[in-house]
Subunit: 347 residues, 2 copies
DNA sequence: CTGAAAGCGCTTACAG
DNA sequence: CTGAAAGCGCTTACAG
């Protein structure tokens, strides 16, 4: 549309050098006379000057833009994360470019490339669960990467922000145990991810603490879908040793399980106790409102953006000051706590 | 992190000029000898060359990045739109920077500014419903803007993509009429938006066609929330002339209304027919699965990105070719059709 | 207090 | 077929 005015044109009109204009507009104008300053600001205002950040970035080597790579924004798990990221980023004056990969490694690599070319200052990355080994595009990547939700070993990764799934599952299972349930099943969504493994650990730990033996038949591994909740619940109802409670890997599973239980005339939580992992907050909409472990998704995004940007800025400081290799602000994995939300108490 | 190699360095190593390297790497290399070409590609590969798009953009005046401004990605209405936008954008080789405004005009203006500074090629904008009049930041904006979901008159706007709410409401109401319902209420979420007005028009039109007089008491205006659905349903049940069906402004309202009806021992749809406007696809999770008007949200984002990018590219073509004022690809409002999803048929 | 100059990494006429 | 040169809009030492 309209062409923007440049500092060169402002300089001409103000009868000063472009250096002076640049300094004034960047508030590095301690040494500039009040008169010049006013004149320049007036002209900038008049023509509605907007700086060309491309030109600036070319010199400063910072774009104040970060990338967010997630599987799918439509998956209700991710909007809160995305929102957390954007909130923190904009607090710091950063923008975020967001990318959907559908968990496809090819698309992940493509986006890492695109973001690198766009010179983003950093990337927040929720990678595919299939991504098992070190991968070229990550190794080659010239941009700092921070992992969320799922863990992954890689030297280019400057940090990780994940949910404390072990603790959450422990809380969920302990809650059921506290209410007197003893035959607690676990319907897992999958077991290949660190997420799922953490939850299994927590479940086992809670049982172990009370010296309740783990019944392998009580652990059903499938996928994070409503239909799987229905099926798994059906399987559990046909076990020789009847169950009295279920810890569900996520809330879609929980909804499915409840549907099945009701079909069979069982009441929740009077007959069968249920706690779900509240991936996507839907559980609160089904009846009976379900007791769940709330995932700190918003916090995850927020924290991730904070860590990433702090690292970015520290890296830059170090480069400017000492030109030596810099130490990261925080290199280790951050575990975010979950919360037990009791919506309807069992027994 | 690692510094990227530049075309200058490639040129040195290959013993050619940077112009040659640039041409080869940009596939404008028809005139370059096969040997030089191969040599250059080999070196680029070897050092894992990634172009600096800042530098390129500075010259070409295109960033291949568009902005997406929405109220809140956590609102389940928007992820599908965002996904549609990103899908189409990445098809065209564009990235998208996304921004949450919480419907605050101040934040909208801030983001329009930020995006302008970042030199995005265009902006897709779902503006606040409170934004009634022409507004400075939009007028001043140097970037083409395309509006989605909500309409707004402004000369800087190159187009609009909205849902055909009138048609949708007409379908919903007609469906209920076809099933024999005659006392059809309408629980609206609000009436200030063009969205809500369109729906009211469709409702009125359907009734008018069958020569059924509109009963003002049957139209309840509130907000797009579950609780309002509960309240409005309660009000409707106390009307002198009893209703036999409800058209709900969105699915949160529908869920609330159903909850109330059930509480009063009424069956849906046997006693009271219900059709909701399926803003957020949640309706399918409540029982009984609800008949709804499906919003083409994904399509809205997809179409919007397509129109915007086509306009951007046309604008550029025209500038290169004739340097004259260009005609927009499509300036008018695009109405996207809704779809009636019958999940449980009434009567 | 201010300016002249170099340069960020690239593209694009233009010349040969 | 290839190179020298100008320039995109800005920042940053350095000099005065």
């Amino acid at each position: 549309m309209k062409k923007s005015i440049t500092i060169k044109e402002i300089a001409e009109e103000a009868q000063v050098s472009i250096a002076t204009v640049s300094m004034v507009l960047n508030k590095k104008d301690k040494k500039i006379s009040e008169a010049t300053r006013k004149k320049i600001h007036a002209i900038a205002q008049k023509y509605n000057y907007t700086p060309n950040t491309m030109a600036r970035s070319l010199i400063t080597r910072q774009t104040r833009t970060i990338g967010l790579i997630i599987p799918d924004i439509v998956n209700p798990f991710f909007p809160e994360i995305a929102r957390g990221v954007e909130d923190k980023a904009s607090e710091f004056g950063y923008s975020v470019i967001y990318c959907n990969t559908d968990d496809k490694i090819k698309r992940e690599d493509k986006y890492i490339n695109v973001l690198t070319e766009k010179m983003v200052d950093g990337i927040i990355f929720a990678h595919s669960s299939d991504r098992q080994l070190g991968f070229d595009s990550l190794d080659k990547c010239k941009v700092p990467i921070l992992l969320i939700d799922r863990d992954y070993e890689n030297r280019n990764v400057i940090g990780r922000v994940v949910v404390d799934n072990r603790e959450g599952a422990y809380m969920a299972t302990s809650y059921l145990l506290d209410r007197g349930y003893r035959k607690i099943a676990y319907i897992a969504g999958s077991i290949t991810t660190t997420t799922a493994r953490g939850r299994l650990e927590g479940y086992n730990q809670a049982l172990a603490e009370r010296e309740i033996p783990v019944n392998e038949h009580y652990i059903k591994v499938g996928e994070y879908k409503l239909q799987w909740g229905v099926e798994a619940a059906d399987q559990l109802l046909h076990e020789k040793e009847p169950i009295d409670a279920i810890f569900c890997g996520n809330d879609l599973i929980a909804i499915g399980a409840i549907r099945k239980l009701k079909e069979c005339g069982l009441r929740v939580p009077e007959d069968i106790g249920i706690v779900g992992f509240d991936d996507i907050y839907l559980a609160s909409l089904v009846e009976p409102p379900l007791t769940t472990i709330k995932q700190p998704n918003y916090e995850m995004g927020y924290k991730a953006a904070e860590l990433l940007i702090k690292n970015i800025e520290k890296l830059r400081q170090d480069k400017i000051k000492h030109e030596n290799n810099s130490v990261l602000v925080e290199k280790n994995t951050v575990f975010l706590p979950t919360e037990l939300i009791v919506r309807r108490s069992a027994k």
